[in-house]
Amino acid sequence: MTLSEFDSFRPSEPARRRREGGKRGTGRRRDNGDGSREMPMVPEPEFSSYYGRPVVKPAPWGDDVAIYLFLGGVAAGSALLAAGGQLTGRPVLRRNARLGALTAVSAGAVALVKDLGRPERFLHMLRTFKVTSPMSVGSWILSAFSAGAGVAAVAEIDRMSGNRLPLGPLRNVLQAVEGPAGIEAAVFAGPLAAYTAVLLGDTATPTWNAAHEELPFVFVSSACLASAGLAMVTTPVRETGPARNLAVLGVLGDVVAMKVMERRMDPVAAEPLHQGKAGAMLKWSERLAVAGGLGTLLGGRHRIVAAVSGLALLSASALTRFGVFEAGLESARDPRYTIEPQKNRLAARRAAGVTGDAITTGS
């Protein structure tokens, strides 16, 4: 703004502080170097925004939800291992995996309810079935999974306690449905591990939304390696051969899916995955996953090495979930991650001759 014609004789102001990196110059430059402008109230961003305020709102979710992402994965993978143990005659693996599945899914469900704004209304989740709502679909998957996992685990508890649970005539029923219940839980295990990725992908949160194509693969891989890790911690090595295989497959899937995801995402929207707390967690997640995988591969037949590797894998999975979760929230808090990818894709569409689908129109 020029206030008077003499303003142009003022000495020029020093250059503004640039954003970190400062590599993206898509923003407008107001600085014409003659110092004839008003002092800004807020630091000038590299892109236009409304006083640097966020465009989209971050989900009002606390760490409870990230904990659930982790525990849901552990439960899902454990149910698969339990079903495998059941079908291939590995009673200890079956028992431990069933108990692990029920514990994880129960704790996860409690975390979910705790995170609601009105926890007493948690049953409203089952008020309807809405295929457009991954949260609704997920609530039904979680319920169906919990039913099977619960029955199978209670049967194990009954057996461990020497048939002392006060079941009466229901004991025969329990023993009859135990096997089918374990299989039913295994059927819903995959959906339980994958739906959370759709839940995050189906939001306007830039980093989650940009990751929507590969995130399901990251999450199921993470579930595999975490549950295999849990089995390696809890179960003697003679029955954990399949868990070790699953751990190695999970690590491979996790590392590859993560790399593919980061490469295919919008580069700006992918930034929060590499920065700050989320970046550090994801970096350590990868290191721990690789270390756990190598430990499993090389020393998995040794009880101590197996248990340590299992712990590393569990930690890797938890860090993956917390890292992805935190990166998404971070991307919603900074308007840059909403505005820049959107401007870029709009410009790309226009450059390709598609001009009819913009929200801003000249007429």
Partner: protein, 336 residues
């Protein structure tokens, strides 16, 4: 379930059998004077509690901040110098020369010069400085991200084509907050977390907050619409910057207005949300802006996330199959 993206009639998609016309706003920011009567009227009518502690935000005359659970109208203030006006004029002119295909009924014999390059773009009574003032509100999208992802059915499509939360159904899961591409809907906190300093004590006595813990947003005054009344904000607006009516009429009015402004050389004028082919299928609240949307805190290319949901479910299905295969392989390999 109706379609997930593209032009459609949201009321018919929601299986309303009678034939109410879709209602909407047209907010003409070129005649907004920033009086905030809309904010006040909205708060009063909807009994929305105080948001924050009435602190000064250091962003021009905007001390409201943003739309949220207890703020359903938000007047944005932007101060711009001449160079920005020139830029806005150029970017608006570029939009016109893109030759956007017209949607809807054919243009009235508009006074838009065919080639704006020749138009006299001298600002009529400007200005090496300008205020932009814009009253933002829920967009009541044709494809509403919040509505699509709501797991309880608390959010629903009304007979007027608007999107409303049922207070007694919502359990505060917060999915809609992340689902909205415009950052409108928010979960209301109970207000007790706001700590006041002694100096602001007079503002610290919050009355009891209704509907704490559940998602809240503009209802387009559903309770007034059913009584055939105009929403509170539009009724209170002294300059008719906020217009209310049938959605089709609003879009038509917006197109006429932007054509008028262009004819006067104000090529910075552009419409936001009037295109039913955009990422949210067009919005129920249409805006006339005088600069790029992000200047007002609006997303430049919003897209309803659910539009990609079928693809996400397919990818998740592949991942599930992969997980099952890995488990099978693990056990078969372990047996060998």
């Amino acid at each position: 379930m109706g379609q997930l993206s593209g032009p459609t009639d949201p009321t018919a998609d929601a299986h309303w059998e009678h034939n109410h016309p879709r209602k909407g706003f047209f907010t003409d920011t070129s005649i907004c004077i920033g009086c905030k009567a809309c904010e006040v009227a909205c708060k009063e009518w909807n009994h929305n509690p105080q948001d924050g502690n009435l602190e000064l935000l250091g962003s021009s005359y905007d001390n409201t901040g943003s739309l949220g659970a207890s703020t359903w109208r938000h007047v944005a203030f932007i101060e711009q110098g001449q160079d920005r006006i020139v830029e806005a004029r150029e970017s608006g002119r570029a939009l016109v020369s893109l030759g956007m295909p017209r949607i809807g009924p054919p243009a009235p014999a508009a006074s838009v010069p065919a080639d704006l390059a020749e138009a006299d773009t001298t600002p009529p009574d400007t200005a090496d400085f300008r205020w932009l003032m814009s009253s933002d509100v829920c967009k009541h999208c044709t494809h509403a991200g919040c509505l699509d992802v709501c797991p309880t059915g608390a959010l629903f499509r009304t007979e007027f084509g608007t999107v409303v939360v049922q207070d007694d159904v919502c359990n505060g899961c917060g999915t809609c907050v992340a689902g909205c591409p415009f950052g409108v809907i928010e979960r209301r906190s109970n207000g007790t977390v706001k700590v006041s300093t002694s100096r602001e004590d007079q503002h610290a006595a919050h009355p009891e907050v209704p509907n704490a813990g559940i998602a809240q947003k503009c209802t387009l005054c559903y309770d007034r619409l059913v009584a055939d009344e105009t929403p509170a904000c539009a009724k209170a607006c002294p300059t008719t910057s906020i217009k209310f009516g049938d959605h089709d009429d609003m879009v038509e009015a917006a197109r006429e207005r932007v054509a008028d402004l262009h004819a006067k050389g104000l090529t910075e004028a552009r419409l936001y949300g009037a295109n039913e082919n955009d990422g949210v299928g067009g919005t129920g609240s249409v805006f006339l802006l005088l600069d790029e949307p992000e200047v007002y805190g609006l997303p430049p290319d919003p897209r309803v996330p659910t539009a990609d949901l079928p693809k996400m479910y397919r990818r998740a299905g592949m991942a599930v199959a992969g997980m099952a295969a890995a488990a099978a392989l693990a056990f078969l390999g372990g047996r060998a």
